[in-house]
Amino acid sequence: MYNIFVIPLRKYKLRFHMFHPFKLIGKNTIAFIHELGKMANFLSISIYYMLFPPFLFHRVVKQIHFIGVKTTLVILLTGLFTGMVLTLQGFYVLVSFGAESKLGAITAMSLIRELGPVVTALMVIGRAGSALTAEIGIMRMSEQIDALDAMNLNPYKYLVIPNLWAALISLPILTALFNVMGIWGGYLVGVELSGLSSGVYYGAIADSISASDLILSLQKSLSFGLLIAWICCFKGFYAGHGSGFGAQGVSKSTTEAVVMSSVTVLICDYFITSISLFT
C-alpha cells in the first residue's frame, strides 16, 4: 500500500521511526525482553557454576583485591565527607526544633539504612564495575574468551564467578567501613565543631540503631553486590552483541553497564526498603 511518508523518505535513505510508532515500540519491547531473558539465563548459569567445583580461590582473592581493597580509600573518603555533610545539615535543622540531641540517631540511621549501602554501591560501580565490563569486553573482542573455551576452560569459572564472589564479600565490608567513617565524620562536625556532647551523640546512636537496621544494611549491600557483578560481567561477556564492535563496542557496553547497574541499584534500594518497612 502506498504510504505518502515512507516512499519519499526511503528515496533519501532516511529512516524516521516517528512515522511507525507501533513498530518502534514493538521492536524495542521485543529487544528489551530478549535482553532480560539473556540476563536471567546468564545469572542462572553463573549461580549454577558458583555452587559446583572447581572453585578458583586464587582468582576470587585476586578479584577481592581489585573490587574491595582497591576501593577502600575511595569509600573511606566518601564515607567521611558524607557523614560530615549529613551532620552539618542535620544540626542546623534540629537546632531550630531544639532536638539536636537526636543528631547522632539521624546521622547513623541515614547512613546505615540508606546512604551507606547505596553510595558504596555507586562508588564500586564507578571504580570497579566499569573496569570489569571493559576488561571482559576486550577479552571477548580479542577472542581471549574463545581461547579459554577452546582450551576446555570454562569462561564463567574464570571471568564471572570470581567477580560474583568478590562483590558479595567486598560490598558488605565496604558498606560497614563507609558507615563507620560516616558516623566518625558526623562526630567531628557534631561534637568537635558544633559543640554537642559526645555522650549525647553516641547515646542517641546506641538508642536508635537496632539489629534489624544492620541486617537491612547487610541485605542491601549483598543485593547490590550481586547486581553490580551480574550486570557488569554480563555487559562485558556479551560486548559486541548488538553494542557495536571494537573499541566502540566496549565503550558502549561499559557505559550501559554503569548506567544500568546504577539505576538498578536505586530501584532495588526502594523495593528492599519498602519490604523492610511493611513486613
Partner: protein, 242 residues
C-alpha cells in the same frame, strides 16, 4: 577423521554457511581457502565446537560435535588445539605465563616441569629470550608463534590454524610454515589451516578446499587446484578482477 556434512550457519538474516560438505582424513593437513568474510573462520569455530551450527553434522572420530554437551564436548576440546587469527593471547599475562597457563590450569605438573615444557615449546618457535614480555610488547609474528606454542603445549591430536601467516612478512611466514611442516613430521597431526596466502600455503598442505558462497566448491591436491579450470578458483588464485 573429520567429516562435515550439509552444514548451515546463520547470523541474524545472513546465512554464512549454506550446506558445507568437507572431509579431512586422520593425519592429513588441509588448507581451507576462500575470500575474506566468506565464512572460513565460522566453519573452523563450528568444527571445533566453539559455536553450534543451525543444522548439519560435524563428525570427529564417530562423535557428532554439534550434539555433544558438557563433559563429552570438553573431552573432545581437549584433543583439539586452535591458533586464533590474532593469537588471542591473554594480554595481562607475559609470554611465559600465556604458554604455561594451560598446563597450570589443566595438569598437576610441578612448577619445574612446567618451566621445562614451556621453555622447550618457546625454543621450538624461537622465542626463548622473550619470556617476560607482554603481548603488547611483541610483534604480530611473535604473537602468532606464542599462540602456536600455547596451543602445542597440551599435545593436541587435531589442530586448527586460523590464518597463521596473514599480515606477516615473508621470512616470518616461512618460519611459521617450517614449524607446521616439522609438526606434521614429528606429531602426525590432523590439521586444518584457514588461509588465503596463495601459493605459500600449498607448500605445507596435503589437500586444499575452497569455500565460496557458503559451500565448498572444489577440493583436491595443491597441484590439482592449481591446474583447475573452475573460473572462480582461477580468479582467486590469480587475483584477477572480474
Amino acid at each position: 577423521m573429520i567429516e562435515v556434512s550439509n552444514l548451515y550457519k546463520s547470523f541474524g538474516n545472513q546465512t554464512v554457511l549454506k550446506g558445507v560438505d568437507l572431509k579431512i582424513e586422520a593425519g592429513e593437513t588441509l588448507a581451507l581457502i576462500g575470500g575474506s568474510g566468506k565464512g572460513k573462520s565460522v566453519l573452523l569455530k563450528n568444527i571445533s565446537g566453539l559455536i553450534k551450527p543451525d543444522s548439519g553434522k560435524i563428525v570427529i572420530d564417530q562423535q557428532d560435535v554439534s550434539q555433544l554437551k558438557g563433559k563429552k564436548l570438553g573431552n573432545l576440546k581437549d584433543r583439539i588445539g586452535i591458533v586464533f587469527q590474532f593469537g588471542a593471547l591473554f594480554d595481562s599475562l607475559t609470554v611465559y605465563e600465556n604458554v604455561s597457563f594451560p598446563l597450570k590450569e589443566k595438569t598437576k605438573l610441578s612448577d619445574k616441569e612446567i618451566r621445562q615444557k614451556v621453555l622447550k615449546e618457546l625454543t621450538d618457535v624461537g622465542l626463548e629470550n622473550d619470556l617476560e614480555k607482554y603481548p603488547a610488547q611483541i610483534s604480530g609474528g611473535m604473537r602468532k608463534r606464542v599462540a602456536l606454542a600455547r596451543c602445542l603445549i597440551l599435545n593436541p591430536e587435531i589442530i586448527f590454524f586460523d590464518e597463521p601467516t596473514t599480515g606477516l612478512d615473508p621470512v616470518i611466514a616461512a618460519t611459521i610454515y617450517k614449524i607446521i611442516r616439522s609438526l606434521q613430521k614429528r606429531r602426525k597431526l590432523t590439521a586444518l589451516i584457514v588461509s588465503h596466502e596463495i601459493p605459500g600455503i600449498f607448500k605445507v598442505v596435503d589437500r586444499v578446499a575452497m569455500l565460496h558462497d557458503g559451500k565448498i566448491i572444489v577440493t583436491g591436491t595443491p597441484e590439482e587446484i592449481q591446474a583447475t579450470k573452475n573460473p572462480i578458483v582461477r580468479q582467486f588464485l590469480t587475483g584477477e578482477l572480474e
